[in-house]
Symmetry: C2
Subunit: 323 residues, 2 copies
């Protein structure tokens, strides 16, 4: 499967490294704000990993400078089976607008995102008829949460006739916040007093100051996270039964809390109980997000090859795991 | 979705109760060794639940005595969208032979089983071409283990580039062993010194004597469980990396240990870690097996409606959850 990655931040780089370790997939294109790189025989993941913060994949040996790198990737449509959109989604309609561009440009293939916000994902679901008409298969919310943990919730729901609540409490530890500049800003946008616009507008210094007030930790409650709309769409429960929060430590790779999905429900025989899915503390955000996203990209391709087009949430499908 | 259940033991009865609590599904037929019951407007789950051990669904108000109740259900093929095979699988080729009968009888629909043994499931996988040709969609291994926990393993694998091991350790507590006569014999068959034939041949008194030696508990290690072949088929790992065992308490509804799936793997960035999926202690075997099986039956129906036929393992698909 020939893959393009949109975005070359922490997630894009991690996805490139994962693809380099899989025989079944080949990374042929990558794009960032400064340009893109393309090689039909595969790009060099190590070289991508070495691009410094503030640099661009346009500097790679297969790189090209461009003011419209997304447009350049769309032109490569016949060279691509699937696209992982690993871009920060600020503002909310940014990724939906990119998907529309791919369709308008004649791309027919598999796509996944690692979107987080409910409103953004609803925009993606609205594209279902467009993608169906144009022979594309899009799986949305394919990161860790939403993604891996949402799918685990949909799986856990099977034991119950009534789902009472789904609670996702994540822990992420990163050594340096500026490896994940966009992700951190997306998290700040969930803090009281911020929204996506004000978080995006923060300078790096302002982010530093904000983080230093809480010893580098961000604790988030009742986040606007698309796990809710995905589980509602999958029929598991109403969106207001889903709560998402967590703790991000931006000064240590150690997770401050273990990422846990807890689904509480009532069984057919009247018992109330909880199933839990707990991620190993040593697994990084990058491993949990990008591994899952690439597994879903394989599934999107699988569905597409069988004539199943349109938009699905990751809670509705099983990712594929291929070596 | 109009459903038939083959088998009216503990699992068949539980499945009937679950279906009675779902608006999306209707149980129209059920069969056991003594006969069958059919009503195109739906059977009465409570009446099914009240059938005593040693009794038969042929005694229900919609019941009919039959020496070939499976054959009678096959004749109802045009009334059925899906079949849950909740029969004990002794000997190994019993359920595969029933599937062949359904196909030979012209049934075209969705089927699931809650098979456990590796060799039995391999026989089911061998039926893939037959089912493909005849427009049937079969999901195999759709109980708790294999099933819910195997799917959780395939999901957990996404975070890793190499899966080192999958370990399933289950706990089941039932108040009276003779509510699950067939299941207990299938478990005894995993004990050293037993096989499926010798376990099946045990009288009820012999089972009592055997259970009383260990205070009603059966502890099983390295069971021949199809989780291995299913995860191998799903590409997650080799079959010998999968181990299954557990503790069955036949004298208490309390679980002796918490059922846990632990997947150990290596991430793209070189970390070794473990994801865990833990079932709530209050959830019964019946809830975890039958809820999952019916979720997979909905998925099999979904796939079939989209022209995807053949045999799949539950680790390859996501069950659907419908009210």
């Amino acid at each position: 499967m020939k893959i393009a990655i949109l975005g070359a931040g922490g997630l894009g780089k991690a996805a490139a490294h994962i693809l380099a370790q899989k025989q079944s997939h080949s990374l042929v294109a990558i794009a960032d704000a400064g340009g893109f790189a393309f090689n039909s025989n595969g790009l060099d993941a190590e070289e991508i990993g070495n691009v410094k913060i503030g640099g661009s994949v346009s500097q790679l040996k297969d790189g090209h400078f461009s003011n419209d790198s997304i447009g350049e990737i769309i032109k490569l449509k016949d060279e691509l089976d699937g696209v992982f959109i690993a871009l920060p989604n600020l503002p909310n309609d940014f990724i939906p607008s990119i998907v529309e561009r791919f369709v308008a440009g004649g791309f027919q293939g598999a796509l996944v995102d690692a979107l987080k916000r409910t409103r953004a994902m609803e925009m993606i679901f609205d594209l279902d008829p467009l993608l169906k008409q144009n022979g594309c298969t899009f799986l949305s919310g394919c990161g860790a949460t939403p993604g891996l943990l949402t799918a685990a919730a949909a799986l856990a729901a099977q034991s119950f006739v009534e789902v009472e609540s789904v609670h996702i409490w994540w822990g992420v530890g990163i050594e340096r916040w500026d490896d994940y500049k966009a992700t951190i800003r997306e998290d700040i946008a969930h803090l009281p007093g911020f929204d996506v616009d004000s978080a995006k507008a923060l300078s790096d210094d302002e982010v530093e100051v904000l983080l230093s007030k809480t010893d580098g930790k961000l604790t988030l409650h009742d986040m606007e996270h698309a796990d809710d709309v995905m589980l509602e769409r999958a029929g598991v429960c109403e969106r207001d039964q889903v709560t998402v929060g967590g703790v991000m430590d931006t000064r240590s790779a150690q997770k401050p809390v273990s990422t846990t999905m807890t689904l509480r429900g009532r069984t057919f025989d009247g018992k109330t109980s909880e199933h839990k899915f707990i991620l190993g503390d040593e697994t990084s955000m990058a491993a949990n997000v990008c591994g899952t996203a690439l597994g879903y990209l394989s599934r999107a391709h699988w569905l597409r090859e069988r004539g199943i087009y349109g938009v699905f949430g990751s809670a509705e499908m099983m990712p594929l795991w291929e070596k």
